[in-house]
């Protein structure tokens, strides 16, 4: 499930005034809980690691989402939010060497506290002289860089934690 589908789902839940929603599909589990009708929803996006490639859902599955929501999601009595802060992690799609900056000695792409946008370059992972620009897949704030400059990286390894913007 991508950002766009997630947004659509949230819009749908808002429209239907559904307070809590959970969806499991393969390795992906999405749980959305809204405090008050109309308020910004709390999002929990759970992908077990090692990060299994998430199949982008075909456009035709959109009805399936609303289907399962009407079938599965129940409007529960509004409860006070008990969910803790959840952070998003950016993972490496390839094996390689991690670089925090565009070239040796230049300032890093991002540092803790920086505000980032979807598509913004966070780092480079190099494998076989192939430079892979890793982009942020969520808008928010960089909380922590979880690896060191020059460190070898495994496939699916967590690189950054990001606090998603509400």
């Amino acid at each position: 499930m991508n950002q766009k589908e997630l947004r659509e789902l949230i819009e749908f839940l808002k429209e239907q005034d559904i307070a809590e929603f959970e969806l499991e599909r393969g390795d992906v589990k999405v749980r959305i809980k809204r405090n008050v009708p109309g308020a910004a929803p709390e999002i929990r996006y759970i992908a077990p690691h090692p990060a299994a490639p998430v199949e982008p859902a075909p456009a035709s599955s959109a009805p399936a989402v609303s289907h399962s929501s009407s079938a599965k999601a129940e409007t529960t009595s509004p409860t006070a939010s008990t969910a803790k802060e959840t952070l998003h992690t950016v993972k490496s799609p390839i094996v390689g060497t991690f670089y925090e900056s565009p070239s040796p000695g230049s300032p890093p792409f991002v540092k803790a506290g920086d505000s980032v946008e979807v598509g913004q370059i966070l780092c480079i992972v190099e494998a076989m002289k192939l430079m892979n620009e890793i982009e942020c897949d969520v808008a928010g704030e960089i909380v922590e860089m979880l690896v060191k400059n020059g460190q070898p990286i495994e496939y699916g390894q967590e690189l950054f934690s990001v606090r998603p913007r509400a």
Partner: protein, 336 residues
């Protein structure tokens, strides 16, 4: 100069009419063409034709004549103009979108920007001269005017980024095949440097933009030393050109065409044949003296020595060390 393009001053793409003049003059290579006819053929005024002819002469194209007498081409110029290169690579994915620059910062930087802006797969960026040609890390690429091939291509393979690493090795094989089609033996150093007598004749820098599960675009940048006669002192022991290696001047146009054809072939094979990946790894091991039993120094991870021990199934280089087998991930190795 960096792993990633810094801000790039937009380069001026070559006036397409320059190539058109060369094409028209080549079509009638034994005849003198009047300024009026040339002007009509390319949709310019006679005064503009004269100005463009002067510009071509400045770039080393040998054209006889004046506005009053008409023009004649003395010889087909060895310039990588779309009008000259495209007819030689018909049927490849690279023949439709060739961009030429007399002077550019870096073909890779410009190709990356174009790719991000939606340039189609198969787009080719060729330059006569790079003012800030880039290599790995903080390395630059010496790019003297009209003596090398500076070429970047855009690919958009439908695959996850982890599967795209093989393009790095395939690009090296493609350049090796292109040079060897002129009967000059070239060694391959993992992952994709090309060496003659231990000196570098070609370097490749691949840059990729990808989502977690899907490659958006890959830019492969290839720099070949073709007709350089000298190199700056700091490169004299590590670089070589094809001319220096063979003692003859090379046609950059022919080599560039051979390169794009062989790149096209590797790419299509990788997309279409189920076992193409294994074939790349197998051929790489056959055609590189660096893959097995070679004593090397690995620069990454604090640096270490070892003896090469083949490739793993993803194409990473295995190195036998006193601490066991280690994998070289990023790329910088040298013989010791």
């Amino acid at each position: 100069m960096s792993r990633r393009a810094a801000t790039n001053r937009p380069a001026q793409q070559t006036d397409a009419r320059l190539g058109q003049i060369v094409r028209v003059l080549s079509n009638y290579s034994t005849m003198v063409i009047s300024g009026a006819k040339l002007a009509a053929e390319i949709g310019a005024t006679r005064a503009e034709v004269w100005r463009l002819v002067q510009q071509l002469r400045h770039y080393g194209v040998s054209i006889e004549g004046r506005p009053a007498t008409g023009y004649r081409l003395r010889s087909i110029p060895d310039l990588l103009l779309p009008e000259i290169v495209a007819p030689l690579i018909r049927g490849t994915i690279f023949s439709h979108f060739i961009h030429h620059y007399y002077r550019i910062g870096s073909t890779n930087t410009t190709a990356l920007e174009a790719a991000a802006a939606g340039a189609p797969e198969g787009s080719v960026f060729l330059a006569e001269q790079q003012t800030s040609g880039r290599g790995r890390g903080s390395h630059s690429w010496n790019s003297q005017r009209s003596s090398g091939i500076y070429c970047s291509v855009i690919l958009r393979p439908a695959m996850p980024p982890s599967e795209a690493l093989v393009f790095s090795l395939a690009a090296g094989l493609a350049v090796q095949a292109a040079i060897q089609s002129f009967r000059v033996p070239v060694d391959l150093k993992w992952p994709n440097d090309l060496l003659i007598g231990g000196r570098k004749v070609c370097g490749i820098l691949t840059e990729m933009a990808a989502e977690a599960t899907r490659v958006r675009h890959i830019v492969i940048g290839i720099g070949i030393n073709v007709n350089q006669i000298t190199f700056p002192p700091e490169l004299q022991n590590s670089a070589i050109s094809l001319q220096l290696a063979t003692g003859k001047e090379w046609s950059r146009v022919e080599l560039c065409a051979a390169l794009l054809k062989s790149l096209d072939q590797e790419y299509r094979t990788l997309l279409e044949r189920p076992n193409a990946r294994e074939s790349v790894l197998l051929r790489f091991q056959e055609r590189s003296s660096y893959v097995k039993g070679r004593k090397i120094y690995v620069e990454e991870n604090g640096g270490y020595h070892g003896t090469t021990y083949g490739l793993d199934d993803r194409g990473f280089l295995r190195v036998h060390t006193p601490d066991g087998i280690r994998l070289v991930l990023s790329g910088s190795i040298r013989a010791v």
